[in-house]
Symmetry: C2
Subunit: 814 residues, 2 copies
């Protein structure tokens, strides 16, 4: 393509940053005929008309009679501000999809941008195919309008109900990371991604621009971001619209992109500018991909992106009364909110809507006229019909090797140690190996620290940055890899969500304390999954698997900031239909649980397991049986066989189980006549009644484990009250004495930390005695002895900086 | 200063990005004499020696005898990787503090960078002043070494125990936003801020560079960031160390800074480069401030920053055996971890430590020799002694106007409506007005949407970006303002934390659903506050006040993504010493609660209040009495006077109270003989026993409200199980039937949403009847009637898109 009209950076820096006026653009080649410009303008106006219709009308959709107040919705809701820029972009992509037969999806980042997407989906016919009652005629349009932001209807974000959407945009910040997730291992896909300039201020979005350093032009597709400099957020200007051209351009060059600018409000010239710029971008993308694929040599290009500066509320009136509307934040939401109270404003609205000339755009039946319909692609080339955005359709089976082959041998329970995570790593390595194009591992620079380095044998870390000499010394970097690591929990979570939502599989590993960083993201994903269950054409996607390790109980030198097991509380608040929490007590249980999670669909699975060496309890057969039940009595650790127990010692979590078991041993040594039942819980939601969660135990099953009336010491991995919250409906809940982390810690050995939170073996055993007053003097003597042992051990730890050997090398003595 | 040796961007782009070799720098003017270079090198070596000592030694601190295995700590913990670069920077700032009498603090962003900070604090004498047993002699040094990363000792982050720290760096991402918080309204302060290149990948850090757009050079101080291109994270290279010079420079120009580069490993040239570059930066900062202050005209300069590229683990051995150490990620933590198992490595360690020549750096007593001590500033000019970092010392009284003057008149309870937030906004406005230099309001572009726009009358939104013509139309922007708005919850929270920790006051307002974005940040701040309570020299700071509005129950068009009241669960997990949660039911209660929170110290106060108009219940006198108790019976809404009630109707939260009250009215209309007690809870922690939280009610007090045995319908603002978790120890807890949000919603009117979650008046009344079987047929008839009313109302809402007038205009009928 010719470049004679390109502007230099210096020239661009001189340009006014007003969004108004004729187009100013990096590339401006007038590729469109006048007829094309007219048709694109008409199509664009049709979408703008539909956007206003959605916000305002419940009757008279094509204004075939004078607009009456009674035809307006009684409560006006919806957002106008970003619709025009988004629709403009969508329409220009349609032209290139048709010209180059592109495989593309549209990701709508700006909040409340759904009207633009819905309008285009409706006009390209997809909406009516998916929802036949929203047909392409007057009645269908009426229903299409009324349902928008109407009770029982659809929202103003690109919710799961929206064909072609896999990114809702309700919470802002994830458009780019989601988009990259969709194109990894989809070499032909282009994800056209609108980024709102409000959204661009969020932290997650600000760092996600770096995603290009992880994109391989041979095996992956491409993201074409359109940063929409809409100028305003709800009530504020946006940062990026109020800095100089030089800074703006430098910022994206710095992020590793080639920014192309398209700026202005004059439609004919804007069409030419956008058409030529977007085409340039697509050809650059294709060129880079061709170069890499033909040479077989990957590299990191400065991928193209577009900065689209248009007025907020573009094509609306510049002023309503004394107030600015177009090009100001007042156009963010319902553009004329007081249309009911001020009769003259009803006229303003009607005139405005008629200025788009619906009578010319839609035929007698109410359908888009054929000349305009011809602008849309067909079949699954229509962005709102692309199956990538309904990823379950494309989901390939995950090949999971037989997890039993990775078992650790356990001849006797509680005597030998192994590293659960090291064993799991081998299993995970082979999952990576067996699914070379549709499974990835994600982590924030912690995969090796989390003892999962074995996965690098099957797939190294993707790295398109520069390489240094020392990288050969265990750097494990490669252009083509299967492990994705950046020190941004937001980015890896966004990538993984995008990867899964577009039909693939994956797992994220993280230190337990810092998973709170993405509380909100995970919550939003849960909400997406839950709502998808109500949308019948959505096909289930793979589960989002989160493996938490480096847990609260092993933060010897990281201290208080690294002690927070509360992510479970956040997850437990989400819909029971979509969340699962597992705390496997040992390696074989971890394998069994992980196997189950990887094969599941439509859940958020959270697995908590420590990465240090631990006692092993169950052989593989026992582990499978135990994990299948989710909670059960460990007969080998109990001595109440055939009797009612005096006490139940229960545990959930690996470190917690270790101490609860040691406490049981202490009690049986000190008080051999005591009948103790040992219960372990793997699947946390077993504790909740079955009518509140599909995994819940019936009351009868719960009673069979915990009894109705015996004291139970429950040692829990996380904050203790979560157990009370899950069991408050149980008859025996008053007998549960739960220990867990209660925000007590600093630089402590594992023993010291446990003592501070009363989750150590001594405290648990003393707790039990305190709940068994019938033991009398015997109990008091045992308690005293236990206290002595505890103090002695704590003193040793305090002076030596490590826990006593007899604790760390402890074995189950029976 | 001369600029003849400055390099152009093009030249810099050609430079290798290896961190090794002679210094390469933007400014390189050899300002230091040879003697100065030698002394700074010696001082630097002294700090490096101390860092190794902290990681390894418990005895023989100055290696006055050959190093023995028994003198090592038994468990080696601590981090070496970023220490050198941080200490190098600290030392160079010392030179300029002395030369220009600067008021400066040091913020250590890189994780686990404490050894560098501790070493400098020790050498400048502050550590020994604060902790006299860590004296400046051999014994003190031994104790100083041993306590590091040792049980009961101090951590490897810049924890509250660290003099001069107000930023722990345990969780990464907040260095820059904290730093800006410290310099707002501190015009003379320079916060020298090390940013790790790992940390720089996080979202929160990536967007916080934009903070300069909110910094006024007249009224605020300056942040001097030093991006430490250390090259590696735990096990990965960092992104910013593996991109071209051109991209790196462009990135920071794009963010609005002037980046100065200092790169290399050769100490003499590096000293010259750092000395001249840092001095240039300080002079530029002073120059911009002078220009703005003398002209009285604020502007946004491209503030200077430094990119410091040095090898990770700088000054350590490049290789240990076959493995790279210096300049590789293997130097991240304990640099030679297997020194115990491999005897020859003990020798390597000893040789390395001796290479710093401790015998020349410390005198016979073990103190730093005077020639080197002379390099440190004195008194509070020592960065680790700056009172800003112990902000409670500087905390000025907050002037809070008499909140009673903002009361809304309530002649009769439950009949008139008012906007709680609008009234509160006037109070907040006057707090802003009365504290023009030490109180700010923070929000993510929601202050106006949250109906707090009145504050702009006292202080506009700070904005140093460009201005447009339409800004006069309600833009409320100013160079000098008191409201801080950027669409990044992370950034505003970081600013507010920094502002408070350096001795000032503030409040953050946010939509309720998106406060989860900063779950982790708030958790870290709670941990900081809690740990400060254990550090006796720390003086209490103002509370962090978080006002949540746009709550779950009023998301008519935002839908499911905006429905999440679960932040309360996250906060409730933190130490009871530092967290407080309030849900005022009406405007006067909101005023009373807010007054209390603003005057408090060392808490995280969370206030939840809706922003729409609501029924008002209590006049100011009643509100004060009610909020002081925190929970109480509303006699005017009860008819059990003098009797035992048949039923308790309880509520917590404004919308929840409204519906619970309406349910009470329905019950009394349908079943007039029923004795109902109405209880409202403002202070959530009243529900917990008093031995678990200082606000907790005694069992007797709890019983006086809720009884031990009567059914209680409890309508709660948030997820219902939080109430069960708080009350599980209460005798009457089995009688509590709690309703709240349970993750059911979409685009719904308030009534529909309430019905879906069974928190509407009809459901609550039916719940009550279901728990009162003695009502017999009368109860069944009333229940049937209520169900009919509910269905009728829901149908109306569904068809009309708004709730029926009789519900929205409802008044307490008795």
């Amino acid at each position: 393509m010719a470049t004679d009209v390109e502007k230099t950076a210096e020239e661009l820096d001189q340009l006014s940053i007003s969004p108004f006026g004729p187009a100013r653009a990096t590339v401006n080649e007038n590729p469109l005929s006048e007829d094309e410009v007219q048709k694109m303008t008409d199509f664009f106006h049709a979408t703008m008309y539909l956007c206003l219709g959605m916000i305002y009308l419940k009757e008279n959709p094509l204004l075939r009679e004078p607009l009456q107040l009674s035809q307006l919705k009684r409560r006006l809701l919806g957002h106008w501000g970003s619709d025009a820029g988004q629709s403009f972009t969508y329409i220009h992509m349609n032209r290139l999809i048709k010209k180059y037969d592109l495989d593309a999806i549209f990701i709508s980042g700006p909040g409340h941008g759904a009207p633009a997407v819905l309008a285009n989906s409706y006009l390209e016919g997809v909406y009516s195919e998916v929802y036949p009652d929203k047909s392409e005629d007057v009645d269908g349009m009426r229903r299409f309008f009324k349902q928008f932001s109407f009770p029982g209807g659809i929202g103003s974000h690109a919710t799961p109900e929206t064909p072609g959407s896999l990114h809702e945009g309700g919470e802002l910040g994830y458009a780019i990371s989601h988009a990259f997730g969709t194109v990894f291992d989809h070499p032909d896909l282009i994800s056209l991604t609108m980024v709102g300039d409000g959204e661009a201020e969020t932290g997650p979005l600000a760092t996600s621009w770096h995603s290009t350093k992880f994109l391989n032009p041979i095996t992956d597709g491409a993201v074409l971001p359109v940063l929409h400099l809409n100028g305003y957020k709800i009530n504020n200007p946006t940062l990026l619209s109020r800095i100089s051209h030089k800074e703006l351009e430098a910022l994206f060059v710095g992020y590793g992109w080639t920014p192309y600018f398209v700026e202005g409000s004059d439609l004919p010239t804007m069409h030419q500018a956008m058409a030529s710029t977007m085409e340039r971008c697509i050809l650059e993308i294709k060129g880079y991909q061709k170069k890499a694929r033909e040479s077989g040599k990957a590299f990191r290009p400065r991928w193209p992106m577009i900065v689209l500066r248009t007025p907020k509320g573009w094509t609306g009136p510049r002023k309503i009364g004394d107030h600015f509307l177009e090009g100001f934040w007042r156009s963010h939401q319902v553009p004329i909110p007081d249309v009911v109270a001020h009769k003259e404003k009803l006229k303003t609205l009607e005139d405005w809507m008629r200025s788009y000339h619906p009578e010319k755009l839609f035929d007698e039946s109410g359908a888009l006229i054929p000349e305009l319909k011809a602008l849309t692609p067909t079949g699954i080339r229509r962005m709102s019909a692309n199956p990538v955005a309904n990823g379950g359709v494309l989901r390939r089976k995950l090949h999971v090797p037989d997890f039993r082959e990775y078992a650790t041998e356990v001849k006797k329970s509680g005597v030998s140690s192994a590293g659960s995570m090291l064993l799991f790593a081998k299993f995970l390595r082979d999952v990576v190996r067996d699914n070379p194009q549709h499974f990835r591992v994600f982590g924030p620079d912690e995969t090796e620290s989390n003892k999962l380095a074995a996965v690098y044998d099957a797939g190294k870390k993707v790295w398109l940055g520069d390489y240094f000499e020392e990288d050969v010394d265990g750097g494990n970097l490669a252009y083509e890899g299967r492990v994705m690591e950046i020190l941004s929990e937001h980015t890896i979570e966004g990538w993984l969500e995008g990867y899964i939502l577009s039909g693939r599989h994956g797992i994220l590993n993280s230190y337990e304390p810092f998973i709170h960083i993405i509380d909100s993201m995970v919550g939003q994903h849960c909400k997406w999954l839950e709502k998808c269950l109500e949308v019948e054409w959505r096909v289930k996607v793979a589960s989002l698997n989160i493996l938490l390790t480096a847990t609260v109980w092993r933060q010897d030198h990281n201290g208080f900031t690294h002690q927070d097991p509360g992510f479970l509380d956040v997850v437990a608040n989400k819909s029971p239909e979509v969340v699962r929490i597992y705390l496997p007590p040992d390696a074989n249980c971890l394998l069994s649980v992980a196997n189950h999670c990887l094969r599941s669909s439509n859940y958020v699975n959270v697995i908590v397991a420590d990465k240090q060496d631990h006692l092993q309890f169950l052989n593989m057969e026992q582990a499978i049986a135990h994990c299948t039940k989710g909670a059960g009595i460990w007969d080998w650790a109990s001595n109440d066989q055939g009797d009612e127990p005096d006490l139940i010692m229960a545990s959930c979590g690996d470190v917690s189980t270790h101490e609860a078991l040691a406490a049981t041993a202490l009690l049986r040594q000190h008080l051999p006549e005591l009948k103790i039942r040992f219960v372990n819980v793997v699947d946390l939601f077993k504790l909740i009644p079955q009518f509140e969660h599909p995994h819940g135990l019936s009351d009868r099953e719960f009673r069979a484990l915990f009894t109705d009336d015996k004291p139970c010491i429950f040692n829990f991995h996380s904050y203790p009250w979560l157990i009370h919250r899950l069991t408050y409906r149980r008859k025996g809940q008053h007998n549960l004495h739960v220990r867990g982390y209660k925000e007590k810690g600093n630089i402590n050995t594992p023993l010291e930390l446990a003592i501070r939170n009363q989750t150590d073996r001594f405290s648990l055993a003393m707790d039990a005695i305190d709940r068994l007053p019938n033991l009398g003097n015997k109990g008091a003597a045992a308690r005293e002895a236990l206290l002595d042992e505890q103090i002695k051990a704590a003193n040793y730890a305090h002076h030596e900086g490590i826990d006593p050997e007899e604790l760390t090398k402890w074995q189950w003595p029976f």
